[in-house]
């Protein structure tokens, strides 16, 4: 690499790394315990953990069969479905949130159906947080698992069938164990995306303490009046990101 290219390459590293270093350096670590147990951060953290986990579970339940079909089936229309379900990957979360609002809002088609049937409104509830997280995070799980399904093919399944294994046994004992690494990777990615979700959440679920105020939403609010708490919460999320990456 010619020497003068070091300048832009180095600048790139500084641009990306410096803010994180500064944030970690300025965080008031001695007060971290106190700040973390302040009710805003604590509530938001708890809400984030359990909504992200729920959203990931839902994504896995719905997404694994979809990835299976996309990765091994040969039906027509698969290409279109693949395109449609990956749109949320590149869609700005705010737009996703808006779409959810226009769909599940009280005056909206699905929203009014739910209101008539069950008497509940979806937006600005904890359920809305989970729905928003599923919407933005499930495509990550589907896309990474689909690749794994495709790469595996059906070689092992064919062998298992000729040996006399019935289809359910084959799925349980051959297909699923083989997917474990990809499944775990996809789940980690999905969870990380869900826990960091902000745009769709604030649009579709708002920022109601203990109900819809997840950690990213809380950080946005804390930046207005409690910088120290915002710093501690942000550092916490950097830690989560590194854990997911490694």
């Amino acid at each position: 690499m010619p020497a003068w290219l070091w300048l832009p390459a180095g600048t790139a590293v500084v641009v990306l790394v410096l803010p994180l270093v500064v944030l970690l350096a300025r965080t008031p670590w001695p007060d971290a315990i106190t700040l973390l147990s302040s009710s805003t951060v604590r509530d938001a953290f708890a809400l984030s953990l359990w909504t992200a986990t729920t959203a990931t579970a839902v994504s896995a339940l719905l997404g694994v069969p979809l990835a299976w079909w996309l990765g091994t089936g040969t039906s027509r229309g698969q290409g279109l479905v693949r395109l449609l379900v990956t749109i949320p990957l590149v869609l700005p979360p705010v737009v996703g949130g808006a779409a959810l609002l226009f769909t599940y809002g009280r005056g909206a088609p699905v929203g009014s159906l739910v209101w008539n049937l069950a008497g509940v409104t979806v937006p600005f509830t904890t359920a809305a947080v989970v729905i928003a997280q599923v919407f933005v995070a499930m495509p990550f799980l589907v896309v990474s698992l689909e690749g794994a399904f495709r790469a595996r093919g059906v070689l092992l399944e064919e062998a298992a069938l000729t040996l006399g294994g019935d289809p359910w046994t084959v799925f349980r004992r051959v297909t699923l164990p083989g997917l474990r690494p990809a499944l775990l990777g996809g789940i980690a990615l999905c969870w990380a995306r869900a826990v960091g979700e902000f745009g769709a959440t604030i649009t579709f679920a708002g920022s109601i303490r203990s109900v819809t105020q997840t950690l990213p939403v809380a950080i946005d609010e804390l930046l207005g009046h409690d910088l120290d708490a915002a710093m501690v919460a942000s550092s916490l999320m950097i830690g989560l990101a590194v854990v997911v990456l490694v």
Binding site: L155, L161, G164, G165, P167, R173, V174, P177, G178
Partner: protein, 365 residues
């Protein structure tokens, strides 16, 4: 690779009989096995039978997992997340406890014989390719079966590893109480594992017999090239055989096609044999690569069965060089590379060929 191939194969394989399906790439070997195993479906209107059971045809379809025709593939396809033992007894799981226990004991015994007893609890994903190939065959042989299917089980292995695998598998097959069908490209597989050979060409059965019959008297171009012989059509009369310079049969073996492309048109040529042929009339003449000797100049031995020719092509076979002659006969002669260098046997060079008539096989067409 979804491909449409019309298959016309009707072979009977008795219990204890081991049939090798041979044929060039795309001749239909794997298709036959996959149809038998139930992994592919035959076109409507056709029928696939195994024993007395109609597997596909007239609307009947037996699911792959209910056919009891376990199959080994070109890749071992062991289940990498299971232990070696769980792989080996996978097929018996459906047959009840006592069958599973028996299979377990047989598996352990076989592993011990192979000297692989220490691998019993190892995950199958950790095995070497040679071990995997052998254990894949063992898993197939241990499954409850009315017949066993092997699809080029050692084709992915190195020469020496394949030799070990072959000798390990050899013993089990002698005790196999059901028919075996083996698709292979390797004549060593046929020598070690088969009792009979069926030659497929473009989906059609063109020769079927014991290994010895097919090796001695191949009747198709592929079969001849499989056992390493050049085959010519001829016409015998007393001790003379008029040999036609053309190959008989359809062109399918890949290397033959290449030779055909570089070969000039060849005229008929007369071989004088030392004794009479069994019968006058049309015959096949099978020539081994060692029957012909090449010389850089005309040898002194006399005019019989000697001719001048040019080198049409050279090809490397390991450390040997296969020289293909041009007119009058497109014979292939294997010589040491050192000999080829001494002869200057480059394409286009002039050489003298001399054939040993006693090593020709001449038999009625």
């Amino acid at each position: 690779m979804p491909r449409s191939l019309r298959l016309d194969v009707d072979v009977e394989v008795g219990p204890g009989e081991r049939l090798a399906l041979v044929g060039s790439n795309g001749a239909g070997k794997t298709s036959v096995l996959r149809l038998l195993a139930g992994l592919d479906r035959a076109a409507p209107g056709s029928s696939v039978t195994s024993g007395r059971t109609v597997l596909v045809g007239d609307g009947v379809h037996v699911r792959a997992d209910e056919r009891r025709l376990p199959m080994t593939f070109a890749e071992p396809r062991l289940f990498p997340t299971m232990t070696v033992l769980d792989n080996l007894v996978f097929g018996a799981a459906r047959s009840g406890r006592s069958q599973a226990a028996t299979t377990r004991l047989r598996a352990l015994a076989a592993l011990d014989t192979l000297g692989l007893g220490h691998l019993v609890g190892r995950r199958a994903g950790e095995l070497s390719s040679g071990q995997s190939a052998v254990l894949a065959v063992l898993r197939t042989v241990l499954a409850p079966a009315v017949g066993v299917l092997l699809d080029e089980p050692f084709s992915s292995l190195d020469t020496e590893v394949a030799a070990d695998a072959r000798s390990a598998v050899h013993g089990w097959l002698d005790q196999l109480p059901v028919p075996l069908v083996l698709a292979t490209h390797s004549v060593l597989d046929v020598m070690a594992l088969a009792t009979h050979v069926a030659v497929l060409d473009d989906g059609v059965l063109v020769q079927h017999g014991t290994v010895d019959e097919v090796a001695r008297r191949p009747t198709s171009r592929f079969a001849a090239s499989f056992v390493g012989l050049d085959l010519f059509a001829g016409h015998s009369h007393g001790t003379e055989v008029l040999v036609d310079g053309t190959f008989p049969g359809p062109a399918s073996a890949r290397s033959d096609r290449a030779v055909a492309a570089t070969r000039p048109p060849a005229g008929p040529w007369t071989v004088r044999l030392s004794s009479s042929t069994p019968a006058d009339g049309p015959v096949w003449v099978a020539v081994a690569p060692r029957a012909t000797t090449l010389h850089a100049s005309r040898p002194a031995d006399g005019p019989r069965n000697i001719w001048e020719t040019t080198v049409a092509a050279v090809e490397q076979l390991g450390a040997a060089v296969r020289v293909t002659c041009a007119a009058p006969l497109p014979l292939r002669v294997d010589v040491a590379a050192a000999t080829a260098i001494r002869l200057g046997a480059r394409p286009g060079a002039t050489v003298w060929g001399q054939i040993d008539p006693s090593s020709l096989e001449v038999y009625p067409a």
